[in-house]
Symmetry: C2
Subunit: 162 residues, 2 copies
DNA sequence: CGATATTATATGAAAATTCATATTGTTTAC
DNA sequence: GTAAACAATATGAATTTTCATATAATATCG
């Protein structure tokens, strides 16, 4: 049982290249790897990843409209529409037309959905704490700060000059 | 032309919730938003995102095997197999059986692929520099450091104890 | 050596995703 | 008040993606 060099299947020269220090790659790789761990829990709870995201967002903003939910849950709108259909069929959410604007469809947690998300969020917090602990007191806060800062910066750019 | 509050379509109570400071969400949101900017360039170069990732990885590790490429390009193996087929049809890469192990298929940049990636990488670097500049001297390095650290930590966990 | 386990890649088929656009409701400007 | 612009959601159809598993090559173990 050799447990070293797990990723390097081959014997490449191994000079560090472009990708290994490219910001967008680091972000994607870190997000992927970190999320993969927790996504195991998500699946055990009977949810797919986008469903977990939708529920988590509804937990914070119940009654959000589809478009808004799509933005915060990082899902394209037409995809979200179909995901919501499935989730409604499964009884996790309910949709309701906004009386003040007939175009809007607001999504609400059902009791089942709320109870499910209520059970998963503590797992998420626990997983997050474990990860932050491994990064050390300052490592964790530094990471979060840096990410918040990046997000602010990117948000500014969007609203900025068009 | 109102250019504030772009994301908040509705008028929700807006008490900060779970998601807004959840590490995995920050990572996914940051990766998404940051990458979205550059992905516009990628598409203009006639590439889809996974193709760009594959080429960028090959740029660093030409001749990598499918499995390895799948890991570093953050794509599932069977998907990558099909992506590679398409890329070969388009003349961006070539596959070659590894003489030392008949199971392995090694992927090499074609001349066209190399010339394409050679033209895109500078754009990537430029975009990255612009973003880092906006984060400020220290902000950028702090972010990268934090991400590297996270990746190390996650990698350790994988190899660690099984 | 031969059986068995393991590794690398490919593939069928169901399901999900994308993209462009249709549909429906609302606001704006005359 | 109505036409034109805009906004929110839905949908058709092609393509992609996923998941489990098939296939093929190699390694291991008795």
């Amino acid at each position: 049982m050799k447990h070293f060099n797990t990723t390097d299947q081959t014997d490449q020269p191994r000079k560090t290249g472009f990708v290994d220090d490219y910001l967008l790659y680091l972000l994607a790789a870190a997000s992927d790897a970190a999320s993969a761990q927790f996504h195991a829990h998500v699946r055990k709870a009977g949810l797919r990843v986008p469903e977990w995201r939708v529920l988590a967002c509804l937990n914070d903003q119940d009654g959000a409209m589809i478009t808004h939910l799509a933005q915060i849950a990082l899902v394209e709108q037409s995809r979200l529409t179909r995901i919501i259909v499935q989730m409604e069929e499964r009884g996790l959410v309910q949709r309701a037309n906004d009386p003040s604007d007939g175009r809007r469809v607001r999504i609400y947690l059902s009791d089942a959905g709320r109870s499910l998300i209520t059970s998963v969020i503590p797992e998420a917090r626990a997983h997050e704490q474990a990860l932050l602990a491994q990064l050390g007191e300052d490592g964790g806060t530094a990471l979060k700060q840096a990410l918040h800062r990046l997000l602010e910066t990117l948000a500014q750019q969007k609203g900025g000059d068009n």
